[in-house]
């Protein structure tokens, strides 16, 4: 048993102080206001304080921290993208994640499990090879494997998928990992709080004031705040925020759903994704299978669940694992995914001075949490986006310099 737990055991009450102060009323003015107390917003706050000494920062969260897509995703972390820009960016994120538990002194259960993207068709195999080639070129450990290697890593998988869609190979991505999503938000919140950042939950932004093309303040249900710098990091709520400043983005919102089973003893050691069967699955440290599927096919600004989703997903999961017939799904839920036309995020400055955007995360924001926080912090601090995110700028949609990541979305969307 680690000494730390002994320490807790000896003290009758936990010595652990609050993770974050109970901030009630915002001050009149802040250097930076971050809208959205999810992983991205909190990470940006943390790095603003840590890397640039900017601590007069308010994070405004309309619900509770980590309650949006941070707490709704299936916690997969990977960097096996399709464009060199994407691979480099997500690889930088993976690198931070690997040391993040130590940095934040919170066990995020960052668990390196290896990630297989299964291919059932020749055309899927082509995309796998493309991704593998680009990954290898950038120095990320991804390669194409055959059915034997997949069976070795996951002997329970029916390679023939009940005869419906035989697996012919996979893209193996060694760094593929999972982590405790809540912990990421809490760790960054605690880290930011320790530097003096103030986090306000139940605080919703209702208006953003722009004068002469510059941000000057935000109205909340918890008072008015003057500020010259606002970061929007609200994922599925992005259109509601950008509307407040009259900013056009090509983002559309589709629901993305997921579900978990009852806990069972560990048997699935890897992360599996099947594009053809629209399934991604891993087993959490609690023993639940965490499963997700493709985006719902319609635009909707809501987190309601649908029966269709869970019917389709479970049908396909039994193609892969026929013995799961009587394993039970405990809970399903949905998040709002903010999609861009090229399936790459939108990060950086906007035409409105002092209004910074971190959005367009679609189905893959969690894995980018550390690096998006770090790069957005730099963007705000220097008022200039670092090279790593230049290809994610909003203006690319006007000048047609798209960063095509559609082929690397986890399952066919």
């Amino acid at each position: 048993m680690p000494l730390r737990l002994l320490k807790y055991a000896i003290s009758r009450e936990h010595p652990a102080p609050r993770f974050f102060r109970d901030c009630v009323e915002p001050k009149k003015t802040y250097d930076v206001v971050i809208i959205g107390g999810g992983g991205h917003g909190l990470a940006a706050a943390y790095y603003l304080a840590k890397d640039y000494g900017i601590t007069n920062v308010a994070v405004l969260e309309k619900g509770y921290i980590g309650g949006g897509n941070t707490g709704r995703n299936t916690t997969i972390i990977r960097s096996n993208y399709l464009t060199p820009e994407g691979v480099k960016f997500y690889d930088a994120s993976v690198k931070i994640y690997e040391g993040l538990s130590e940095e934040l002194d919170l066990n995020l259960f960052y668990s390196n499990r290896g990630h297989f993207t299964l291919a059932h068709t020749e055309s899927a195999m082509r995309t796998m090879r493309w991704r593998a080639e680009v990954n290898k070129h950038v120095g990320v450990e991804s390669y194409v494997v055959g059915p034997d290697e997949i069976s070795k890593a996951c002997p329970q998988l029916d390679i023939s998928c009940s005869g419906q869609a035989p697996i012919i190979g996979a893209l193996y991505h060694a760094p593929g990992s999972v982590a405790r999503h809540d912990g990421v938000a809490w760790g960054y919140a605690r880290g930011a709080d320790q530097f003096g950042v103030e986090i306000f939950q139940n605080t919703e932004v209702t208006r953003i004031d722009v004068k002469g093309g510059k941000v000057c303040g935000v109205q909340t249900n918890n008072g008015y705040i003057s500020t010259n710098k606002v970061l929007s990091a609200v994922a599925g709520f992005t259109p509601r925020i950008t509307q407040m400043v009259d900013l056009q983005t090509p983002i559309v919102i589709h629901p993305l759903q997921a579900c978990v089973t009852e806990p069972m003893k560990p048997w699935l050691d890897t992360i599996l994704v099947s594009g053809s069967l629209h399934v991604y699955v891993s087993q959490s440290s609690r023993g639940e299978l965490v499963m997700g599927s493709s985006l719902d096919p319609y635009e909707m600004h809501s987190t309601r669940s649908s029966l269709d989703f869970v019917e389709g997903l479970t049908s396909h999961i039994t193609d892969m694992f026929p013995f799961l017939s009587n394993v039970k799904v405990v809970r399903q839920w949905a998040g709002m995914a903010d999609l861009t036309p090229d399936f790459a995020p939108i990060m950086g400055k906007t035409p409105i001075e002092g209004f910074y955007l971190d959005a367009g995360w679609g189905t893959w924001g969690f894995k980018a949490t550390p690096i998006s926080g770090k790069t957005m912090a730099e963007t705000i601090a220097r008022d200039m986006a670092p090279d790593l995110i230049k290809s994610f700028r909003l203006s690319r949609f006007e000048d047609y310099e798209l960063t095509g990541e559609k082929g690397a979305a986890s399952v066919g969307h």
């Binding site: 009450e13 809540d182 799904v329 405990v330 090229d342």
Partner: protein, 964 residues
């Protein structure tokens, strides 16, 4: 020792059908109608499971699927819910998540070291130093989880049914049954479901003796009524948009779409919280009542009832009647009860202590049961026990009644706004969504006569909603004391006073979580994991909310609830997945392909032959493909193209419509000609291409690629709606078969069945004619995609096989060979044609693919035009070229998607590559930097082995053929 009681008039067991089964190696007797737990309890077996985290012995808590104390495995199935699963003869069961048996579980030491494992302990340790984490992680993973999955469990695809009704009622208790009868009597159809084996709700155990005749009468009326379908042993798994409710039975799911929904799902009994409230023998009052009335099982021999409402008094009387030595009723309320039941209890010599509590339960040996309870005075306002004067009573059981939480999951999922009624101490519906109604305990109505009335009231409202005019029914507000205690929690310095039995969460866990900042209900849930276990907070969420409210010194309504999500009970994957249909489409010639060795592969939903390996053929797939391709080059080949999308576009504005959607011009196109139709998306990316054949001035026949046919048709429909032109669309994809005959002998073969002059001069490429082939009306096109001489035939699907067979036969003397999609790919590569979606990707614009001739930028509008106007002004980033490898090229042959490398960096990629047996060269298509677009340019490909292979840009492989 048997705890089975003499025959109870209300019992569900059939004493004429005894049998035995095995639990933890011990032979146990049961009657039909028993659940696993009730049979075990009847046999004096008290330890039914071990808890998730601390491995504490657990027995019956709710006997109602509101907890997971008793999870078992029969070796095949796992996480079996023993409390509710009917026991069967010869079952061989063990508890899950134990090592060395449930009684001697070797993991029970964890209970002793529980101080080492405080709430959220796994966030606090194991991560430094980093290299040790995998070791700890492995330990934690193995300790977590419940049952083990058997990898040989068969796939059981359950069928799904659909049902419709006017009113769906969830819960067949007195409220639901009354509602059902009211609705049915007005001529509307009702489906009413209940998760229990028998209808009747709480009346099957609470007041079961007094209310039995009233219930029997009601059930009789329900049974007689043709408009009512009563389904028991079935639970409503969730609420989905527009009143869609999946009803789960053992046999499968019925998806019910109702016009209105009445939720009469009752309430879950909530445990008071005190030290060791989880020991086997400590159970809910309602669980004790269920044991007695349903299964004729004595809950314990000697015990106490701890209560904070009047339900405990009735439970005490029931226990006395069952022969239990009830030592005391301990009422946590300062004023105790004013119920006349007190006098009855006094008559039975049962002591009643008001303003008292069970301070703790003392465990028997090995913590396997109860040996004593410790009682002391209790200040309910301060929620503190006064331990100065403790009374100890030796006993083996405790029945607990502290209050109720509404079974409101479906109401929440439907979007009901709930408010906290402090008089009732319960969340009740404040604002119901349209067409959703609530009745009975879930609606805060507890008194028996009022519950029946409330059912009728909800029925009346539902019927009025459905357009009937029915008189409303008045229901009396709840009067008297609350059925639920405001804070049934007793602190204890040593803890182990459990709130969530699934997750072993104690009061101090909440206090510590709040101190660490997790002091709103959602964060608390996530940090402590309260309500996240398999019973989803049914027995724990309400107490968690009350505890947090007290910690924060806020009223309960300020704390709120967590979001309720499907499913109400965990639902099997096999039920949800159903029979797992995988649709496939077969062309009219499918059988012929199979008979002739077609190697079928999926193309979208369609099945197509990749190549043919007839019986007795000893070729590899690649050899067969080469042979098929060579046949096309030297003689003739035929391919089944029926999978192409086929859309008829007609109406006065047909041509104008096509011009709006596609990049080219069609208005001046001549009848009898086709043009290539290229489709872009709004960003100017190439999406699809096909042929637009003008058959009449106002009628076009349009083809699309196989994979995009559904998408293109959808988009055309959308455009037709938007543009306001006079145009209609008909999707003929499935109605028509299609085939292509290609090669030097193609015309000659077709001529045997057709009068059309097929000479290149008379019928050049680009021509289309409606004609007859083998007496079948068809469309004939001269195309040049796979060979210089090729003809596409589109005809009714019904005639597809016959015409195909006749052509095959007539072609035999010419060496006509059927070819598959692999040969087709190779053939078009030899012709230098790229495939959209194969050689292009999600960002490729037409300029990069040299498709300018297909674009009419001077039109006023077409989809993607605005984007092209911008892109046209920018320099190209990449360009698509044909290439050939050096004839003396050595090393591993590159694969599609290998990268083009220039100065060590990515400069493009191979999109197609193949060895051409006709050209005897490796040819392909690649994206290269724009400056490399000229024939003769050289570039390097990095193959899988990491070696660079040189390639040369060519205009088209057809030139190689000419020069060869």
């Amino acid at each position: 020792m048997s705890s089975r009681l003499i025959n109870q008039p209300t019992e569900w067991i059939d004493r004429d059908k005894p049998f035995s089964f095995t639990y933890e190696g011990q032979k146990v007797t049961a009657f039909e109608g028993d659940t696993i737990s009730s049979a075990l309890w009847a046999n004096g077996i008290r330890v039914l499971g071990r808890s998730f985290k601390y491995h504490r012995a657990r027995g019956i808590l709710t006997l109602a699927n509101h907890d997971v104390n008793a999870l078992m495995t029969d070796g095949l199935d796992t996480n079996i819910r023993a409390d509710v699963l009917p026991v069967q003869a010869d079952m061989t069961l063990t508890a899950v998540n134990t090592t060395g048996g449930v009684l001697k579980d070797r993991s029970q030491f964890i209970d002793k070291i529980s101080p080492l494992l405080p709430v959220g302990f796994y966030y606090k340790a194991f991560h430094t130093p980093r290299r040790f984490f995998p070791f700890w992680e492995d330990k934690i993973r193995k300790a977590a989880g419940l049952g083990e999955v058997n990898f040989n469990y068969p796939r059981i695809p359950k069928p799904k049914q659909h049902a419709h009704c006017d009113v769906l009622i969830i819960g067949a208790g007195i409220s639901g049954l009354s509602a059902a009868l009211s609705v049915a009597e007005q001529g509307l159809s009702v489906i009413i479901v209940d998760e229990n084996a028998k209808a009747g709700g709480s009346l099957t155990y609470d007041m079961a003796d007094q209310a039995s005749s009233q219930l029997a009468e009601l059930l009789n009326a329900i049974e007689q009524h043709d408009n009512i379908r009563l389904i028991t042993n079935a639970y409503a798994a969730g609420y989905y948009a527009d009143h869609l409710v999946p009803i789960v039975e053992t046999s499968g799911i019925t998806k019910v779409r109702a016009k209105a929904l009445i939720v009469a799902s009752g309430a879950f009994e909530q445990p008071p919280v005190f030290r060791n409230n989880d020991l086997p023998g400590v159970m809910m009052g309602s669980a004790a009542q269920r044991l007695i009335y349903r299964y004729a099982v004595k809950p314990f021999e000697k015990g106490v009832v701890v209560t904070a409402n009047d339900y405990g008094y009735r439970t005490a009387l029931d226990l006395v009647s069952a022969g239990v030595d009830v030592l005391a009723v301990i009422d946590m309320r300062r004023e105790g009860s004013r119920s006349p039941l007190i006098d009855e209890l006094k008559d039975k010599q049962v002591a009643v202590h008001k303003a008292s509590c069970v301070y703790e339960v003392i465990a028997s040996k090995h913590k396997l049961g109860v040996s004593e309870v410790v009682i002391c005075a209790y200040d309910e306002l301060m929620a503190e026990a006064d331990t100065k004067n403790k009374i100890r009573l030796k006993c083996d059981g405790v029945a607990m009644s502290a209050g109720w939480a509404p079974a409101a999951a479906l109401l929440y999922q439907a979007g009901t706004k709930m408010r906290f009624d402090s008089g009732l101490q319960q969340f009740v519906p404040a604002e119901l969504p349209e067409g959703v109604f609530a009745a009975g305990k879930v609606n805060g109505v507890f008194e028996l006569s009022q519950r029946a009335l409330d059912g009728q009231r909800a029925a009346a409202e539902a019927m009025n909603y459905l357009g009937k005019s029915v008189a409303t029914v008045e229901v009396k507000q709840h009067q008297g004391t609350s059925p639920s205690h405001a804070y049934p929690v007793v602190n204890h310095p040593k803890g182990k006073n459990f709130v969530d039995f699934d997750e072993d969460i104690q009061v101090k866990d909440f206090i510590n979580a709040a101190k660490e900042g997790f002091d709103n209900i959602e964060l608390m849930k996530r940090f402590t994991t309260v309500g996240m276990g398999p019973s989803q907070g049914k027995h724990s969420n309400m107490n968690a909310i009350r505890i947090l409210a007290r910690i924060r010194d806020l009223p309960v309504e300020k704390i709120g609830t967590t979001t309720a999500r499907p499913f109400f009970h965990p639902t099997p994957i096999g039920h949800l997945g159903g029979r797992g249909f995988h649709p496939h489409r077969y062309t009219a010639m499918h059988e012929w392909h199979i008979e002739n060795g077609g190697q079928m592969t999926a193309a979208g939903l369609w099945m197509r032959p990749a190549c043919y390996l007839p019986e007795g053929c000893h070729l590899t797939a690649q050899q067969a493909t080469h042979q098929e391709a060579m046949a096309v080059r030297t003689k003739a080949g035929i391919i089944d193209n029926s999978t192409l999308g086929k859309i008829e576009v007609y109406g006065p504005d047909a041509a104008a419509f096509l011009e709006r959607v596609y990049t080219g011009k069609f208005v001046r196109q001549k009848v009898g000609q086709y043009r290539i139709a290229m489709l872009l998306d709004e960003a100017g990316v190439m999406v699809d291409d096909g042929l637009a054949c003008r058959l009449e001035e106002d009628r076009f026949y349009l083809t699309t690629s196989t994979t995009n046919s559904a998408m293109v048709y959808r988009q055309l429909q959308r455009e037709a709606q938007l543009c306001g032109l006079s145009v209609s669309l008909a999707n003929l994809t499935g109605a028509k078969a299609a085939m292509t005959i290609a090669g030097p002998a193609a015309a000659e073969i077709i001529s045997q069945f057709s009068s059309v002059d097929l000479a290149a001069t008379a019928f050049p490429t680009g021509s289309v004619v409606e004609t007859q082939i083998a007496d079948i009306e068809c469309l004939l096109l001269r195309v040049a995609f796979v060979a210089e001489q090729a003809f596409e035939i589109h005809l009714p699907a019904a005639a597809g096989l016959s015409v195909w067979s006749q052509l095959m036969q007539a072609g035999q003397p010419f060496g006509l060979q059927a070819y598959g999609t692999d040969a087709q790919r190779l053939l078009r590569l030899e012709m230098g044609h790229h495939l959209i979606g194969h050689d292009t990707d999600g960002l490729t614009n037409p300029f990069e693919a040299h498709a300018e001739p297909l674009i009419a930028m001077d039109k006023t509008f077409f989809t993607g035009q605005r984007s092209l106007q911008i892109i046209a002004k920018k320099p190209l980033n990449k360009t698509l070229v044909n290439f050939v490898l050096d004839s003396n090229c050595v090393g591993e042959l590159p694969n599609e998607c290998n990268l083009v490398i220039d100065n060590g960096d990515i400069a493009g990629r191979i999109t197609s590559i193949a060895f051409s047996p006709y050209l005897q060269r490796v040819i392909g298509i690649a994206f290269v930097p724009p400056e490399k677009h000229l024939p003769g340019s050289r570039f390097d490909i990095r193959n899988d082995a990491g070696d660079l292979i040189a390639a040369t840009v060519i205009q088209s492989p057809t030139e190689l053929a000419k020069s060869a």
